[in-house]
């Protein structure tokens, strides 16, 4: 299936950089913790959506079990800190490594499965991990990991409960990093190969592209980055349990912004998150959470029915079409 190229005019990049710069200086206005928290969550989900987009949007391997890597990251940091008194920054390094290793180990046998089967297999793997973690006492089981809070500002312990702005900046830096990485991958040969195998795997193979290796590489990158976000989550919430880090709903929260904003487009997940998260918080405040999920489900269904490729793709189609028609 032919998918239109997503290149945006370079003016867009300046505007985006401008917005990001504004966001970088915003916390200096001291706007209050609630807003910092919500914006933190915004960046968090935008980042996660970007990571998910790497494998599902660019490589076309629809992963419904991405939450497993998220949980691995969170638990690595938690276990290292609570059991071995090792700084969670070490978790930031080892979490992604474990996540990538898990992606490689599970990807190798499952990547030869076709579309639907791969999605279901990834879902099943995440569920098995979650159920396993629920009964694994060493890491807490259903009890989870309860951090001993260091109620001060501590870089070595990676806890900033007194000033959430540090979390904000860390997440912001990660988001910019992920955006940059996505952009670079998108505009590299590697990215071309991924999109080729996404669009038609058989044709890509006949061109000599080693589909398995490419898929594994992007899976490892995506999983590693997701695990890093898991570590940040652990350090923010200071409480980890399998159900809030590894369930299918976590994966859904990751993929909804990506689908809304544009699958396979660099800025898509970010735009999607910037629209979705404020709406969901506003809904939460005014009509309560159950209905908020109902509305999110309806939004999902509408997106799938009318713009399955996402908002940004429609925008791009509108921009490119006049020129193409002229050709």
């Amino acid at each position: 299936m032919y998918r239109k190229s997503e290149l945006l005019p370079h003016q867009i990049h300046w505007i985006i950089i401008g917005i990001l710069a504004a966001l970088a200086f915003y916390p200096c206005l001291n706007p209050g913790e609630f807003i910092i928290d919500v914006t933190f969550m915004l960046f968090h989900y935008a980042y996660l959506a970007l990571c998910w987009n790497l494998i599902s949007g660019f490589a076309g391997q629809f992963s419904l079990g991405h939450a497993a890597y998220y949980g691995v990251g969170a638990y690595t940091a938690g276990v290292l800190f609570m059991r071995f008194r090792l700084t969670p920054w070490l978790g930031m390094l080892s979490g992604p490594m474990l996540g990538a290793a898990l992606a490689l180990a599970t990807g190798y046998p499952t990547f030869r499965l076709r579309h639907h089967y791969f999605a279901l297999a990834s879902l099943a793997l995440a569920e098995v991990m979650r159920l396993f973690f629920l009964s694994w006492d060493y890491i807490g089981g259903a009890y989870g990991i309860w951090y001993e809070p260091v109620l001060r500002y501590s870089w070595i312990d990676f806890q900033f409960t007194v000033d959430h702005r540090v979390y904000y900046y860390i997440m912001f830096a990660m988001l910019c990093g992920a955006l940059l990485l996505t952009w670079k991958i998108r505009h590299s040969d590697f990215g071309l190969r991924l999109m080729a195998l996404r669009d038609d795997e058989e044709a890509a193979k006949s061109l000599g592209i080693n589909t398995l290796t490419n898929k594994l590489v992007i899976a490892a990158i995506s999983a590693g980055l997701t695990a890093m976000a898991g570590v940040v989550y652990a350090q923010f919430t200071l409480f980890i349990e399998p159900d809030s880090t590894m369930s299918i709903w976590v994966t859904m929260d990751m993929l909804l912004p990506a689908m809304l904003g544009g699958l396979g487009i660099t800025y898509g997940p970010v735009i999607g998150a910037f629209i979705l998260i404020p709406i969901s918080w506003a809904l939460r405040t005014f009509i309560g959470s159950t209905l908020q999920v109902v509305i999110r489900g309806i939004i999902l269904m509408l997106i799938v029915a009318f713009m399955p490729d996402g908002l940004l793709q429609i925008v791009i189609n509108r921009i490119t079409r006049p020129a193409l028609i002229r050709r």
Binding site: Y117, V293, G297
Partner: protein
């Protein structure tokens, strides 16, 4: 100990038959339309609620309410096909998955909002009726549910093999373009299959409400099991789903008894992954595609 094991296996069969009913619906929809329906479990949950309210308000026994639920869920299935499936038949696969997932979110949370997370129980007259030999007990609700499930599956088989409508469905599942060329109205078949599949899930819901507490989360676990069974029994193969359902039901029960209760659900997922990796076409190949 051995008697307990026998009881566990027996119960696994009873439970497995219910899993099969749910799974048959799922596999029929997949067989013809190549769509995985994530909202299947939710629809079953809705029929559990219908069965409960019918019992609660007019004391209608769930087994009798099946005669209302079957056509009602059939109708809902047709609506589902018309408004949810039709727009995405030609769409990309991830779009299809997410559409049904979105529907599941909507249905489940609407039920949660309206009727809350409270547990509702149906207490039919035969709820405490059982037959015991030694340590092994056959309790009426489960035996009845098992019998009804098996009867329905056999009925389905006759329908599929002996009636022209059934053969039309199998034709569409095998090759929808060729079937269309033969003059079969493919969209009508889609509608019928969806209706049938949902009706089967509905009957499963009504049967199980006789002994299982009704709540909004009830559909989720059954649906996951149904996925596992669908793949194990070969996607599209309803007889395979029947057999695979019994296998999974027994495996789940025996694992919980002999090894550990925490592995109860995990073992089904492990079987699922192994099937996908080792024999993705399932145990029985494609019955519908012969």
């Amino acid at each position: 100990m051995h008697e307990m094991l026998t009881q566990v296996i027996l119960n696994g069969l009873f439970l497995g038959a219910i899993y099969s009913l749910v799974s048959i619906g799922l596999t029929l929809i997949w067989g013809t339309m190549k769509i995985i329906n994530f909202s299947h479990g939710c629809l079953m949950m809705v029929s559990m609620y219908i069965s409960f309210w019918l019992w609660f308000i007019i004391r209608l026994d769930p087994l009798i309410s099946i005669f209302i639920i079957f056509p009602l869920m059939y109708g809902i299935g047709c609506l589902f096909q018309r408004f949810i499936i039709m727009p995405i038949l030609e769409a990309e696969r991830h779009a299809q998955l997410l559409m049904t997932f979105g529907l599941m979110l909507v249905i489940k949370n609407t039920v949660l909002y309206v009727w809350r997370a409270d547990y509702r129980i149906v207490l039919p007259l035969y709820a405490d009726l059982f037959f015991r030999t030694g340590e092994i007990v056959f309790d009426a609700p489960r035996v009845i549910a098992f019998t009804a499930a098996i009867a329905l599956s056999i009925g389905l088989h006759f329908f599929m093999t002996k009636t022209s409508m059934g053969m039309a469905i199998r034709a569409v599942a095998q090759d929808s373009e060729a079937a269309s060329a033969m003059g079969i109205n493919v969209y009508k078949i889609y509608s019928i299959t969806c209706g049938l599949g949902t009706a089967f899930a509905g009957v499963a819901g009504a049967l199980i409400s006789t002994y299982y507490p009704v709540n909004p989360e009830a559909g989720t676990v059954f649906m996951f099991m149904a996925f596992v069974i669908m793949v194990l029994g070969s996607m599209g193969n309803y007889l395979g789903a029947m057999v695979a359902g019994l296998i999974i039901g027994v495996t789940e029960g025996v694992t919980a008894f002999l090894i550990s209760s925490s592995l109860r659900q995990a073992v089904a997922f492990i079987v699922f992954i192994l099937t996908l990796l080792l024999k993705p076409e399932g145990l029985f190949g494609r019955l519908l595609r012969r």
